[in-house]
Symmetry: C2
Subunit: 460 residues, 2 copies
C-alpha cells in the first residue's frame, strides 16, 4: 500500500474518456507490467465473464451492459496525464509506461445480446485478446456488465409483477451514484420498464421520461387545492400527488378542481405515495368514479418492489401504474451478483482454477438453449465449435478491436428480445418465488472431457 504522491490541481470530477483507462484495480496494471517483462503480453488468452450462482429467490438473470463494455474497449487509451500520474506513483518502469502510451484493444469479443436470460456458469461475454489487453478489461467491463445485468434482472421481475401496467423508474436520487442511475434507466427500459424520471437518461438513451410533482410543491402553497390549481395551469394533463396531508381529502380536492375547470380539466391521474396503498386506491377510485372521473388513473409509489406490487394487485387494488424507486434501483434483495471474469485459455490451452467453491471450466465456450414445443427446457454449456443441438447464444460482437454489426447497441431491439426470450422460459423460472428444480444447465460431453484433461495437469 503506497501513499499517492501526486496532487492533482483540477481533478477530473467524473469518469470521462481521459480517465477511463485508470478506472482499474491497481493489480491489473501490475500484472500488465509483469506480463510485459516476462514477454507474455502478446500471448493470446480468453477471459470469460459469468455469474457463479443466482441470488436466493431468483430464477434467471437478464444480460445487459454489453454496449458500455464494448465502448470502453473501443476507446481505452492512456493519455499523457494518466501516464504522468502512473509515473509519479513510482510503481512502474519507463519501458512499461512507453508501451502503455500505445495501448489499444485489438481483440475479439463474443457475447450474448443484451436482453438475453442467462444462468449460472454461462458466459455473458468472452474476451479473446493478447493477455495484457484482456486482463486490463476486467475492472471496467465487469463494473458495467455487473451493474446493468443486476438492474435489468431486478426490473424484469417488477415488470412481471405489474402484469401489463406501466412501471416508471423513480430511482435517480437513491441509486448508487450518477453513472448507475443513468445506466439503470437504460437497463430498466431493456427489461420492460416504461419510462424514467431522469431527464439526462432520457437525453442520452432516448428512454421515455415521466414525472409528476413532489410534496414540496404542495407544501409551498397555502392550501393543497391552490397547489393543484397552480400545477395544472402549467401542466394540464399531469398526475397530481394527493397524500401530502390526507390522501382521500386530496382526491376530493382533485374532484373539486374538476368541477371548477369543467371541460378544461384534463388531469390524467392521481398519485398515492404513502399509507395502505390498496385501501387508499379503492377509496380514491370510488371518489373519482362517483364524480364521473373514471378516466382519471391511479398511480402508486412509495417503497414498492415486485413483492409489494404483487400484493397490491392480489388485493384487487385498482392501480393503473407504479412508480418504483429505491428497491428496484439498488436491487435491494440482491444488491450484487457473484460475477467473475476468469482466464479460461492461454496460448491455445485451457486453464482452470481449483479454488474451494470457485471452480472454473476451461476454454472458450458456447451456450446452447434447447427449446421443445416453444419452451426452453435446458441449456447446454459446451466448448466453442462443439456440435450440440440447440440455439447458440454467444455471437461475435467485436473483432480486431472494432464492433461488428451484432455489437451495435439497439435499445428497442434489446427490449423486444427481453420480451420474446422471457416468454419461452418455464413459468417456474419466471415466478416471483421460483419453485421446483432450477433451470437445467448441462455441461456437454466435450467440455466435461476437456475439464478433466486440463484439471489433471493444473497447478503443477
Amino acid at each position: 500500500m503506497e501513499a499517492n504522491p501526486v496532487s492533482v490541481p483540477a481533478p477530473p470530477p467524473w469518469v470521462d474518456d481521459r480517465g477511463a483507462a485508470l478506472f482499474t484495480d491497481l493489480y491489473e496494471l501490475s500484472m500488465l507490467q509483469a506480463y510485459r517483462r516476462e514477454g507474455m503480453d502478446e500471448v493470446p488468452a480468453t477471459f470469460s465473464l459469468f455469474v457463479r450462482d443466482l441470488p436466493p429467490g431468483r430464477g434467471y438473470l437478464l444480460a445487459c451492459g454489453l454496449d458500455d463494455a464494448l465502448r470502453f474497449l473501443e476507446r481505452v487509451r492512456f493519455g499523457p496525464e494518466a501516464l504522468e500520474h502512473l509515473r509519479a506513483t513510482g510503481r512502474f518502469d519507463e519501458e512499461f509506461l512507453a508501451w502503455l502510451r500505445g495501448f489499444r484493444f485489438t481483440g475479439e469479443v463474443r457475447a450474448v445480446p443484451e436482453g438475453t436470460p442467462v444462468f449460472p456458469g454461462e458466459p455473458i461475454l468472452e474476451v479473446t485478446a493478447p493477455i495484457a489487453q484482456g486482463q486490463l478489461a476486467e475492472t471496467y467491463v465487469m463494473n458495467q456488465v455487473h451493474l446493468q445485468t443486476l438492474l435489468a434482472s431486478k426490473a424484469a421481475r417488477v415488470v412481471r409483477a405489474a402484469a401489463g401496467r406501466a412501471v416508471v423508474d423513480y430511482g435517480a436520487r437513491r441509486i448508487h451514484g450518477t453513472d448507475a442511475a443513468l445506466k439503470a434507466a437504460r437497463a430498466f427500459h431493456v427489461a420492460g420498464v416504461s419510462a424514467t424520471s431522469d431527464v439526462l437518461a432520457g437525453w442520452i438513451y432516448g428512454v421515455p421520461v415521466a414525472g409528476t410533482m413532489a410534496h414540496s410543491f404542495v407544501q409551498a402553497f397555502r392550501s393543497e387545492k391552490e397547489a393543484f390549481r397552480a400545477f395544472v395551469r402549467s401542466f394540464p394533463d399531469t398526475v397530481l400527488l394527493v397524500d401530502t396531508y390526507d390522501t382521500l381529502e386530496g382526491v376530493r380536492r382533485v374532484v373539486e378542481l374538476a368541477r371548477e375547470l369543467g371541460d378544461d380539466f384534463r388531469v390524467r391521474g392521481v398519485r398515492l405515495d404513502s399509507g395502505d396503498l390498496a385501501e387508499l386506491a379503492v377509496g380514491a377510485r370510488g371518489i373519482l368514479d362517483a364524480a364521473g372521473l373514471g378516466r382519471v388513473e391511479i398511480v402508486a409509489s412509495g417503497g414498492l418492489d415486485e413483492f409489494g406490487i404483487a400484493e397490491l394487485l392480489s388485493r384487487g387494488a385498482p392501480i393503473d401504474g407504479f412508480g418504483v424507486g429505491t428497491r428496484m434501483g439498488v436491487s435491494a434483495d440482491a444488491p450484487a451478483l457473484d460475477m467473475a471474469y476468469k482466464l479460461t485459455e492461454y496460448a491455445g490451452e485451457g486453464r482452470v482454477k481449483l479454488s474451494t467453491g470457485k471452480r472454473l471450466l476451461p476454454g472458450r465456450k458456447q451456450v446452447f438453449r434447447v427449446e421443445e414445443g416453444g419452451r426452453a427446457v435446458r441449456d447446454v454449456l459446451a466448448r466453442e465449435g462443439e456440435a450440440v443441438d440447440g440455439r447458440p447464444l454467444l455471437r461475435p460482437v467485436m473483432s480486431g478491436g472494432e464492433r461488428l454489426p451484432e455489437g451495435v447497441a439497439d435499445l428497442d431491439a434489446a427490449r423486444e428480445r427481453t420480451r420474446r426470450e422471457l416468454e419461452v422460459l418455464p413459468e417456474r423460472v419466471l415466478a416471483l418465488r421460483p419453485e421446483g428444480p432450477p433451470y437445467p444447465v448441462e455441461v456437454s460431453p466435450g467440455l466435461r472431457a476437456y475439464d478433466r484433461e486440463v484439471s489433471g495437469r493444473a497447478g503443477r
Copy 2:
C-alpha cells in the same frame, strides 16, 4: 409519460458539467416552471436532507458526500445543448427556458461536516435559497449524499471489526457503476479504510492505492511457482495470491521461493481468497513461521464484511489485513437509506407533511450533541437559533452560492473527525449488533411547540 423526440448523435457517455443540470427528476423541472409561472420562484425556502430511520441492525450513520453536493451547487448551469434538449421535449415554455439559461445557485447551505455521526431525523444539510433553486438541488444532492453516507456508514463498521488491522477496498468491479466506485473509495477513506484498489480514485482523491495479483496471472503460467517468480521480478515486495489451486500448497511455494531468492526475498505477504479463511490462516501462519518467515503477513479476502471479519478474529485467525469488496461496496445488508429532502420552510413560515409514516418537523433546525464525561449521551433537535445546551453540529458551508471555508473539503480532516467523533459515541451504538435503547434524539421544547403551531394549520 412522453416519448423522447430528440436523437443525440454523440450522447455524453458520462455525467460531466455539461450534463449535470439535467441529472434531475423530470418533476423538479416541471415544478420549477410552475413556481416561475406562479411568481413564486424567488420566494426563499428551506429544504432539509435527513434520514428517517436507521437500517435494521445499525446504530448510527456517518455523514459524507457534502463536497460533491456543494460542487454541484457551485457549477450547475443549463448549457445550450441541454436547453435545446428541453425545448425539444415540448414540455417547457420559452420564457422558462430563457430563465433557465441564467440559472445559478445563489443560496446558502448549512451542513454537518463530513465524518460526523448522525441519527434519524437530524439534518445532514439544509439548503436555504429561492425555492426554485432549492428544489432543483434535490435529485443530484440526494444522490451523492445518500450514496456516500451509505458507504461511509458501512465502512466504519468494517473498520471497527478489523480492530486496527488494515482494510483495503477491492470493490471497483461490483460497486454500482463508475461514479459510485470512485466516491466509495473516498467515503471509505473517510471512514478509516486504509487504501483502495481503484487507480483512478487514487488519482482523483489522493487516497492510497494498493493491490496484489489475480488468479489469472497464476493460471497463465505453467506452474504456480513460475508465476510467483515472475511477479516478484517486477514487484519484489508484493503480496502473493496463494489459493488458485491449493492454498497451503501455494504457501509452501512461497517458502520455496524464499529459499531460492535468499536475501532478495522481500515478499510482504500472502493472500487467501477462498475456503475456510480462519483455518487456512492458521495453516499458512504455521508454514511461514516454521520457515522463518514470521514477517510475511497474511491478507484475507473473499466475500468479507464486518461480520465475516469479526468471526475470523474471534476464532483467533492470524490475519494481518483484509481486502473487502462487494459487501462493503454495495452496503449489502442495507443497500439504501430512508433519506428524504423535504421543504421545511417557505417565505419564512414552517412547513410540514402529515403523510402516513412520513411525518416532517417544520423550519430550520440545529442539532446539538450533548456530552457528559467525554461520552455523547443524547442529541437535541432544535429550531435554528434556539438556545440549547450541547455542541451544535450544523455549520454554514455555503453562502450566496459560494463555499465558505467550512465547506472546503479536507479528506484527512474528515477521516480524523470520524475517528474522534466515533470515539465519543456509546459502545452500544457502535457495536456491530447494537443493543439496548437507540441513541436518544430529543426534540427541543421550542421545536415541539413550533410543530404543533404549524401542523394545526397545515393543508387547509
